[in-house]
C-alpha cells in the first residue's frame, strides 16, 4: 500500500557491483517506503538476484559504487547477519540444502537470535514448537518438515514454502522474495501469496522478483520495475506488469538512457 508521507525504508543510489571481475549492477536507483510492495521484473541474467544478494550482503559480490541506506543507516556498514537482525530478509531463488542440520532446530536458533536482539525472551524448544506449528498451518505445511534437514530433499515448491515460513517466523522489515513463485503449483502459489499478504503491513515493505504476472494477481504491487543489464530501466504501476506479460521486454523505451550516467532518481510515483 502507498502511504502518504511514509518514511523511506530503503534508498539505493547509483549502486554498482561486480562478481569475479565482471560488473553486473551498473548503477541501480531504487527507493522503497514503509508499507509498499515493489515488483522487479526483467530478462534472465539482468541482475535481479545479484541485486537481492548484494542487499543481503553476499561476499562474492564487490560493491564498486553507489550507496544504500536502510532506515537511514548505511547498509554496507553491517555484516550479513547484522543486516538480517536489522530486518533484511531474502527468500532465495535457490534455497541451499544444509544436510545434518534439523529444520526445526535451525528455525529456532534464527528466531531466538532475533528475539534476543530485539530484547525479547527466547522460546524454549516446546514453546517454539507450538509457535512454529501455528505458522506452518498458515502456509498449510506438514509439521514433518521440522524434523528433516534444512531444505534437504525438499521439492522445489517445498523449498519456496520453507522460505516463506522463515519470513513468517522472523517478521522482517524488508522482505526480498527472489522468484518465490517459480516452482510453486497453482494451489501453493495461492497459499504462499496469502501468507505473504498476511505478513505485509504499514511497518514493513516487500520487494518481489518475478517473471510472471500470475503472482502479481495475488500480491498486488504498488510499483513495478524493469531491470535490464544491471539497471532499473523502467518503473510504473501494476499495469506495467500486464503490459510486459503480453508484449515482452523488447518494446520498452527506457526511462533513462542506458548509455549515460543514471539520473539521480528513477522513482516514479504512480
Amino acid at each position: 500500500m502507498i502511504i502518504q508521507d511514509s518514511k523511506v525504508l530503503l534508498e539505493v543510489r547509483g549502486l554498482r557491483a561486480s562478481v569475479n571481475g565482471t560488473e553486473v549492477l551498473k548503477g541501480v536507483d531504487f527507493t522503497v517506503r514503509y508499507g509498499e510492495v515493489h515488483a522487479i521484473m526483467g530478462p534472465n541474467g539482468s541482475g535481479k538476484s545479484t541485486f537481492s544478494k548484494v542487499l543481503a550482503g553476499h561476499k562474492a559480490y564487490e560493491i564498486t559504487g553507489g550507496s544504500v541506506l536502510f532506515d537511514g543507516k548505511d547498509l554496507f556498514a553491517l555484516e550479513p547477519e547484522e543486516r538480517a537482525r536489522a530486518g533484511v530478509f531474502l527468500a532465495f531463488q535457490y534455497p541451499i540444502e544444509i544436510p545434518g542440520v534439523g529444520n526445526g532446530q535451525f528455525l529456532r536458533l534464527a528466531y531466538n537470535t532475533l528475539q534476543t536482539r530485539r530484547g525479547h525472551e527466547e522460546l524454549d524448544p516446546l514453546e517454539f514448537d507450538d509457535f512454529v506449528r501455528e505458522k506452518m498451518k498458515l502456509l498449510e505445511m506438514n509439521p514433518d518438515f521440522l524434523d528433516r534437514s534444512v531444505n534437504e530433499g525438499f521439492s522445489g515448491g517445498e523449498k519456496k514454502r520453507n522460505e516463506i515460513l522463515q519470513m513468517a517466523i522472523l517478521e522482517p522489515r524488508l522482505a526480498i522474495l527472489d522468484e518465490t513463485d517459480s516452482g510453486l503449483d497453482i494451489d501453493a502459489l495461492r497459499i504462499v501469496a496469502q501468507g505473504v499478504n498476511h505478513l505485509t503491513n504499514k511497518n514493513n515493505a516487500t520487494i518481489m522478483v518475478t517473471h510472471y504476472q500470475r503472482l502479481l494477481n495475488y500480491i498486488v504491487p504498488d510499483f513495478v520495475h524493469v531491470m535490464e543489464a544491471g539497471r532499473i530501466i523502467k518503473s510504473g504501476g501494476k499495469e506495467l506488469a500486464q503490459e510486459l506479460e503480453s508484449r515482452g521486454y523488447d518494446w520498452i523505451q527506457p526511462d533513462l538512457d542506458v548509455n549515460s550516467q543514471p539520473k539521480a532518481t528513477a522513482r516514479i510515483v504512480a
Binding site: 544478494k53 543481503a56 550482503g57 553476499h58 561476499k59 562474492a60 555484516e79 550479513p80 547477519e81 538480517a84 537482525r85 530478509f89 531474502l90 532465495f92 534455497p95 541451499i96 544444509i98 544436510p99 545434518g100 542440520v101 534439523g102 532446530q105 535451525f106 536458533l109 534464527a110 537470535t113 532475533l114 536482539r117 534437514s149 534444512v150 522463515q166 522472523l170
Partner: protein
C-alpha cells in the same frame, strides 16, 4: 567470512601450559640398558623384563611403517627420554599427599582429583608423563570386585592377570610402534571386571604429557570376564612445545562370553601451531578381542589434536555372534595430518561389525580414513556395515578414504557407503541471512555431521566433544 573462520580455527590451545614441577627425567636414548633401568625403577618382576627385552629385540628388526598418508621428518629414537615422572618421596597414602602443583594442573584441565569433586559416578586414573598419579574411587570399585589401578600397581598386585593377558591382543611383533611401546612402556591403566559384574561406574583415564623431550608410552589393559560390562573413557592433553613429542600407546581389550566393553576417547593432544610447528605424534595401537560368544566391543573416538595421528582401533571378532563397533570423528586443521580408521576381523560365525567414520578437514590439513574389513572363511553369516563421510572446510584441505575389504566367505554381507561434502560459502551465507553468526553456523553443521558418533558418547563427553569441535573449527569456514 574467511577471516571469521580463520579466527575460529586459530584460537589458542587452552591446555598448552607447562607445570613447573620437579621431575625425574631419564637421560635421552634407547638401548637394552634403558629398558633394564625402566624395569628396575619400577621394581618389576623378571618375566616382565623378559617381555620387554624380547619386544625390544623384535623392534630392532622392524621398520617404521610408511604406508600411512602422513609425512614427517625421520624420528630420532635416541633423542627421546623414555621416562619422566614427577618426583615423589614415597608411595602416596592419600590424595592429600599429592603435590599441590599437580593437583592444580589437573584442576586447570578440568580433571578433579579429589574424590568429593570427581564427576559423579566416574572413577579417574591420571597419568602424568610416565606415571600414574592417582586412582580415585578405588574402594567403591573394590566392593564390586572391580580392579582399576595403574599398570605398575597391577604388575605387583595382580601379576597373574597381567601375565595372562598382556600382549595377547597386540602381540610382540605386531607393528613398529607397538613393539616399541612393549619395550619401554612406563605406565597406564589396568581394569579387570569379574564375572557377571556390571561396573558400578564409568572408568576414566586422563593422560597428560608435561615434559618437553619425553615420550609417552602407556599401556592399557582391560579385561571383562564372562557377562561383565564396563564403559571406559580416555582423555588426553599436552603443553604446547615447538618440538614434537612422541606418544606411542598400546591398548588391549579382552571380552569373554557375553561381556561388553565400551571404550571412548576424546583426544586433544597439542596439534602444533598454525604453521605446523610442534605438536604430538600420536602413533597408537588399540585393539579389542571379542574372545567369547556374544561379546561386544565398541570404540568411540573423537580425535581433534596431535600433529600426526596414526591410529586404528580394531576388533578381532573371534567368538560366535560377537559384535564390533567403531565410531569416529577426526578433525584436522592447519597442518595436522590424520590417518585413522579401524580393522574388523571376522572369525566367528554370525559376527557383526559397524563402522561410522566422520572426517573433517580444514586449513591445510590432511585427513584419511583407512579401514579393513576382513571376513575369514570360518565367519559364516558375518555382516559389516561401513559409512565414511568426509567434510572439507576451505580450499586447501584434503580428505581421503581407503577402504579395504577381504571377503572369504560367500554368506557374508558387507556394505560400504561414503560421501564427501563441503561447508560452502553459500551455506554460511544462508545462516548469516537468517541472523546466525559463523561460529554458531559451523557448530550446527559440524554437530549435525557428527551426530551419529556423538550419540555414542557418554553425556559429559558428548558435551566436551561438541565444545572442542566448535572451538577447533571456529573461523575456519567461509
Amino acid at each position: 567470512m574467511s577471516a571469521v573462520l580463520q579466527n575460529i580455527i586459530n584460537q589458542p590451545y587452552k591446555h598448552g601450559f607447562v607445570t613447573d614441577i620437579e621431575s625425574d627425567v631419564m637421560a635421552k636414548g634407547l638401548d637394552e640398558n634403558t629398558i633394564r633401568m625402566i624395569s628396575s625403577k619400577k621394581n618389576e618382576p623378571a618375566w616382565l623384563l623378559d617381555f620387554r627385552l624380547k619386544c625390544y629385540a623384535a623392534w630392532l628388526k622392524m621398520e617404521e611403517p610408511t604406508w600411512a598418508n602422513v609425512h614427517h621428518p625421520k624420528i630420532d629414537y635416541q633423542a627421546i627420554s623414555y621416562y619422566a615422572a614427577p618426583k615423589k618421596k614415597a608411595k602416596l597414602k592419600s590424595m592429600d599427599e599429592v603435590d599441590p602443583e599437580l593437583l592444580r594442573t589437573f584442576e586447570k584441565l578440568g580433571v578433579p582429583l579429589h574424590e568429593r569433586m570427581a564427576l559423579a559416578g566416574v572413577a579417574v586414573d591420571v597419568i602424568f608423563d610416565s606415571v600414574s598419579v592417582t586412582t580415585t574411587y578405588k574402594a567403591r570399585l573394590a566392593e564390586a570386585g572391580v580392579i582399576f589401578c595403574s599398570m605398575s600397581e597391577a604388575v605387583h598386585e595382580h601379576p597373574e592377570l597381567v601375565q595372562k593377558y598382556l600382549g595377547t591382543v597386540v602381540p610382540t611383533g605386531d607393528n613398529f610402534y607397538a613393539a616399541l611401546n612393549s619395550a619401554v612402556f612406563t605406565d597406564g591403566s589396568f581394569c579387570y571386571i569379574p564375572k557377571g559384574v556390571k561396573c558400578p561406574m564409568d572408568l576414566s583415564t586422563y593422560f597428560r604429557i608435561n615434559t618437553e623431550e619425553s615420550g609417552q608410552f602407556e599401556r592399557t589393559l582391560i579385561i571383562a570376564e564372562e557377562g561383565a560390562s564396563v564403559t571406559y573413557l580416555e582423555g588426553c592433553t599436552a603443553p604446547a612445545f615447538s618440538s614434537n613429542q612422541l606418544h606411542a600407546a598400546v591398548v588391549e581389550l579382552v571380552a569373554l562370553d557375553n561381556a561388553e566393553i565400551k571404550y571412548s576417547t576424546v583426544q586433544n593432544w597439542y596439534a602444533g601451531d598454525e604453521n605446523g610447528i610442534g605438536g604430538i605424534y600420536n602413533f597408537v595401537t588399540k585393539r579389542g578381542l571379542c574372545k567369547g560368544v556374544n561379546s561386544r566391543i565398541s570404540w568411540t573416538q573423537v580425535e581433534t589434536g596431535a600433529a600426526i595421528t596414526w591410529k586404528y582401533p580394531s576388533v578381532v571378532l573371534l567368538g560366535d555372534n560377537s559384535v564390533g563397533e567403531f565410531y569416529s570423528v577426526a578433525v584436522t586443521n592447519n597442518y595436522q595430518q590424520a590417518d585413522t580408521g579401524t580393522k574388523m576381523i571376522h572369525i566367528g560365525k554370525n559376527t557383526r561389525s559397524t563402522i561410522v567414520s566422520k572426517g573433517i578437514s580444514a586449513g591445510h590439513s590432511n585427513n584419511s580414513y583407512r579401514g579393513l574389513v576382513k571376513i575369514s572363511p570360518t565367519a559364516e553369516g558375518a555382516r559389516n556395515y561401513s559409512q565414511c563421510d568426509s567434510m572439507l572446510i576451505g580450499e586447501h584441505s584434503g580428505a581421503h578414504t581407503f577402504p579395504y575389504m577381504q571377503v572369504r566367505n560367500k554368506s557374508a554381507k558387507v556394505e560400504h557407503e561414503a560421501s564427501t561434502s563441503k561447508i560452502g560459502e553459500d551455506q554460511m551465507f544462508y545462516f548469516a541471512q537468517r541472523g546466525i553468526d559463523a561460529e554458531a553456523a559451523v557448530s550446527m553443521i559440524i554437530n549435525g555431521f557428527c551426530k551419529d558418533v556423538f550419540q555414542q558418547l557418554p553425556l559429559e563427553f558428548a558435551v566436551e566433544a561438541t565444545n572442542l569441535l566448535s572451538y577447533k573449527l571456529e573461523g575456519s569456514v567461509g
